[in-house]
């Protein structure tokens, strides 16, 4: 025992001034693995990405289908892509509440005391969450196909839309990560998250055509990042075209990460 818990002489130890990129990536993946193990031990964490796509897809298609597109089948290209964006958003919202709960636990004290990149404890779980977005997107598309959705973009278009949904979920999760670092309680994150989620989802062409809305509202709909994602997935899945919408969606999502990832790390480090 004595040999094991002896310590190195201080002079033997070259001190690093900051974590390298390689170390940051490896620490992030280690944190992702932790989040993955926890996820597998708490299967209820998958409720929102399994039940919700199943329920919402069927529900929205049958409720709005006739009113908006004449019949359910004609509405599917609209509603499936809309639900994809909606599930990406709701699934990413859980990131904030989970981070807040996690940060209140003792283990975060150790993460803070370890010589690791400050972004790793935040980015790791976001990487593990890719699995959740993947499940949500897959199920939504599967339900759509079962209901008679025949995407014009073919397999490649659908796969591209699927990948874009996952990327969008990951990007949007940084907004909620940031909320998790600034809010005092998981309940608070949940409340604010809802207030963000509903306008972003419904003030978009997710379920109804933009043209039916008043002009001032259309102005917001235009700049809503969720609109960008929906337009892009529609172009990819329904037409199979890589349009400027796709470019704008990727630019928009990247901008969200570029703003909220550094902000999150900053507030997280300040919280020390």
């Amino acid at each position: 025992m004595a040999a094991l818990i002896s310590t190195y002489a201080v002079a033997d130890r070259p001190l690093k001034t900051h974590p390298s990129i390689g170390e940051t990536v490896s620490q992030t993946l280690t944190m992702a693995r932790r989040a993955y193990i926890k996820m597998m031990r708490n299967p209820e964490q998958f409720f929102d990405v399994t039940l919700q796509p199943l329920l919402f897809t069927a529900m929205f298609a049958y409720i709005f289908g006739g009113a908006i597109s004449g019949d359910v089948k004609a509405y599917l290209p609209t509603v499936i892509t809309g639900i994809l964006a909606q599930t990406a958003l709701t699934a990413s919202m859980a990131r904030g509440t989970q981070l807040r709960e996690d940060m209140d636990k003792g283990v975060f004290d150790r993460f803070k005391a370890l010589p690791i990149a400050r972004i790793a404890p935040l980015a790791g779980p976001a990487v593990a969450d890719l699995l959740r977005y993947g499940i949500a997107a897959t199920l939504t598309i599967a339900v759509g196909l079962a209901m008679g959705y025949r995407p014009g973009g073919g397999v490649a278009g659908v796969l591209a839309g699927w990948a874009l949904t996952i990327f969008a979920g990951w990007s949007l999760s940084w907004i909620f990560t940031w909320l998790g670092t600034i809010m005092k309680s998981a309940g608070g994150v949940q409340g604010i998250g809802m207030m963000i989620m509903f306008p972003l989802t419904f003030l978009s062409p997710a379920f109804v055509p933009k043209d039916t809305m008043p002009g001032w509202l259309q102005a917001f709909v235009e700049i809503n990042p969720v609109t960008l994602v929906i337009n892009a997935t529609r172009d990819l899945m329904n037409a199979g075209d890589v349009t400027m919408s796709v470019v704008w969606a990727i630019v928009g999502c990247s901008a969200i990460v570029a703003i909220f990832a550094p902000l999150s790390v900053w507030t997280y480090s300040k919280k020390l």
Partner: protein
């Protein structure tokens, strides 16, 4: 970069405020390499806050701190490579098993998966936790959590270890085990900064002790020095005839000039002595007055008495006591 300071910890004028409340109000600490330094104080005295500032877990509002010569405020990443922290509340992941926890921390510290698993196995064995290796921490007892927490702090073999109230809330047997572990650690040459609200813990483990109360250091020294600094030993007397207590008290007061503490029911007299030699004078005085005694012994003060004398209140939570004559006590330089 290597470090060269002779001191493991050097802090001066540390201040931490939370809103209107000053948790730490100008604390100086110097901890030599290889020593166990105890920070002793009641709940809310500022022990944990001080330790968290030194461990880069809280920002330092004013003052300066260096760990092995590395500035804590400007070079936190370097400091984190030198310090292992074991928190007051076990800082391990509840949902993971013991092995998963240690492998996680090992990987974060840059070990390969294989090295992390080997180190984890070795540590679990050293800490008598190998049977619990595959169990989730939420099923661990308090003592097991603390030991796992300490094991996790040792993965990087840090030259300086912070132990924040390592035995608070543990039963006496587990507490003894924890002490043994800490002693082994010290035998291995680590420098340890320990906070505790238990006087016997500081007495047992620490080479030097700083007494902290309400964010201020009120004394510092070895436990012997602290006990001596309070001045007096105490002469405990028991009379053969209880009715002579007040007569005896008069004699004692004449000889020493001090008021003895009386327990008339049992015929006991406790006499504070500035100097243990004065005990003989008291005994001679009693003999001349024809007062006979059954027992007499001279005792050094306990750390409890030291604490009371230094802070003006006992070791109970600081918030629970009414305003004592606290301002009368300036830092007493003992060392």
């Amino acid at each position: 970069m290597t470090t060269s300071s002779e001191l493991a910890v050097s802090a001066s004028g540390l201040v931490k405020t939370f809103g209107d409340f000053t948790a730490v109000d100008g604390i100086d600490l110097e901890i030599r390499r290889g020593e166990v330094f105890g920070v002793l104080g009641p709940n809310g005295a500022g022990k944990t806050t001080t330790l968290k500032m030194l461990a880069t877990l809280l920002t330092i509002d004013a003052g300066k701190a260096e760990i092995f010569g590395v500035d804590v405020r400007t070079q936190p990443h370097q400091v984190r490579q030198l310090v292992g922290v074991t928190g007051q509340y076990a800082s391990v992941d509840e949902n993971l098993t013991a092995t998963e926890n240690l492998v996680l921390f090992g990987r974060l510290l840059g070990m390969s998966g294989k090295a992390a698993r080997a180190a984890s196995e070795e540590l679990l064995e050293s800490f008598g936790l190998q049977e619990a290796a595959k169990r989730q921490i939420s099923k661990f007892s308090g003592g097991m959590r603390r030991r796992l927490d300490l094991a996790a702090s040792l993965l990087s073999r840090p030259p300086l270890i912070f132990l924040d109230e390592p035995t608070t809330g543990l039963d006496p047997r587990t507490r003894g085990q924890m002490w043994d572990t800490i002693r082994t650690l010290v035998a291995g040459g680590s420098t340890v900064l320990l906070t505790t609200q238990y006087l016997d813990e500081a007495d047992q483990l620490a080479d030097r002790i700083a007494v902290i109360d309400r964010g201020v250091k009120v004394a510092e020294g070895t436990s012997e020095q602290l006990k001596t600094s309070v001045g007096s030993s105490t002469l405990h007397l028991r009379l053969s005839d209880r009715t002579q207590v007040s007569a005896a008290a008069a004699v004692v007061e004449k000889v020493t000039g001090e008021h003895p503490v009386l327990t008339p029911e049992s015929g006991g007299i406790n006499v504070p002595l500035a100097d243990a030699d004065r005990a003989a004078d008291v005994l001679i005085g009693l003999r001349h007055a024809d007062i006979s005694i059954t027992t007499a012994n001279v005792q050094q003060p306990t750390l409890d008495e030291v604490f009371l004398a230094l802070t003006g209140h006992g070791t109970e939570s600081a918030e629970d006591t009414h305003e004592p004559e606290h301002t009368d006590f300036r830092t007493q330089e003992v060392a």
